[in-house]
Amino acid sequence: MSILHAKNIHAYFGTNHIVKGISLETEPHQVTAIIGPSGCGKSTFIRCLNRLHEETPGARAEGSVIIDGENIYGERVDPVSIRRKVGMVFQKPNPFPGMSIFDNVIIGLRLTGEKNKEVLASVAEESLKDAALWDEVKDKLKTPGTSLSGGQQQRLCIARALAVEPKILLMDEPTSALDPIATSKIEDLLSKLKKKVGIIIVTHNMQQAARISDTTAFALMGELIESGPTSSIFTAPRMQQTEKYITGRFG
């Protein structure tokens, strides 16, 4: 059973038709990587998977996304509740300024009305452990999140996303601002995390997609050209355009 099934997604900025009918199904306990040239609509597409796209003025999306048997574009669905189910981590780490490490992690839970100190503390610890950050910050939970290194900040954002127990974690080029060591920490982390949450990651780094994902999807000019097991996409893709892109002979 798929954990997320996007069907025929179209996305627009005003009259600009950016995502042109992409369908994608992801399995539980898997990392799905989306690759494709810059500007092809990868970020726009994954922002449709938690209804973030429509927050941009003038932007609109069509299609359906089935998560847990429910269409998140259904009539009575509250977009905010969707974003708890479908967490997101962005390219630039964005811990909330002026907030401690601890508060950064539990902010989502606080917003849902959770006040029990013990619950908050145990969720913070568990989330930070899941994000492989606990050992590095357990003695300074009260210091500002922004005082951490870039790689640590990104893992803090992952912990923040995990704290509300999402089904799916969307990651938009989460390591592109990080050095190789911080990058490999996050890559290692993903292979453990996928046991808990489904992961969809956009990456412009093909070697990264090859290393960490189970399924790879290749997008081009707003369309999905091909998706399949990562090992076949990178050794013997079916489509010419995929072949050209991943061998660097594009355009």
């Binding site: 013997a236 893709p237 991943i246 061998t247």
Partner: protein, 225 residues
């Protein structure tokens, strides 16, 4: 489109492999012609060719390793390099087999011939043609030709079998011919191995071009008969 640095390295690598296959082809030609014409005077060339082949063997491997480490090729580029690494091994062994044929020929020609050679020249022709076709399909990415090379190997195997049996009869009837008979049997065996290496290369070409691995697949022929 301008050739990228990677494409240049890939082209140079292919050229090196072609030089190597040319050396292999020449050494097979010399070794088999010596036996066919019962004239051992040029077999020493096979030994020096083998040294050059070994040099190429090392160079090809080093270049492949570099390309893998530095360029991290994918898809058809990755398949091509993996195929070249394997083809390189086969070519080097083919050089060794040419040397074996040369050595067996020298030994055989130390005494007067024990029998007229009938099937062996056929096998020479078959194997040389097979080797040439293998190299052609590599140069031209010709999958259809590669598939026909793979099929051709059955004929080589059949000829080897026939030479084994015929030579065995000659030996049985006259034990004085054992040593020379054995040389002929060994040459047939060396040729059969050459055919196997050519087949491997053809299979690697098919893999590099299409991504399809046809090794160990049951052949229609063997399923029918």
């Amino acid at each position: 489109m301008k050739e990228s640095m990677f494409d240049v390295s890939l082209r140079e690598l292919k050229e090196l492999l072609l030089r190597m296959s040319d050396l292999v082809e020449r050494s097979i030609e010399i070794a088999t012609t010596a036996l066919e014409q019962q004239d051992p005077h040029s077999v020493h060339k096979v030994f020096s060719l083998e040294k050059q082949i070994n040099q190429c063997h090392l160079m090809v491997d080093a270049q492949c390793l570099n390309l893998l480490a530095l360029q991290q090729p994918l898809a058809k580029d990755l398949r091509l390099i993996v195929a070249i690494i394997k083809i390189n091994t086969d070519l080097e062994r083919m050089g060794d087999q040419a040397v074996n044929i040369a050595t067996n020929t020298e030994r055989y020609l130390k005494q007067p011939p024990i029998k007229p050679l009938v099937d062996l020249p056929c096998m020479f022709a078959e194997v040389r043609a097979m080797v040439r076709e293998t190299f052609t399909c590599f140069v031209q990415n010709d999958v259809a030709l590669a598939r026909s090379v793979v099929k051709r190997d059955d004929r080589v195997d059949a000829l080897k079998h026939k030479i084994f049996l015929d030579t065995l009869e000659v030996i049985k009837s006259d034990p004085a011919k054992i040593e020379q008979g054995l040389s002929l049997i060994l040459v047939a065996r060396n040729l059969e191995r050459l055919g196997d290496h050519a087949t491997n290369i053809a299979e690697d070409v098919i893999f590099a071009v299409t991504g399809e691995d046809i090794r160990h697949a049951p052949r229609v022929e063997t399923m029918i008969y």
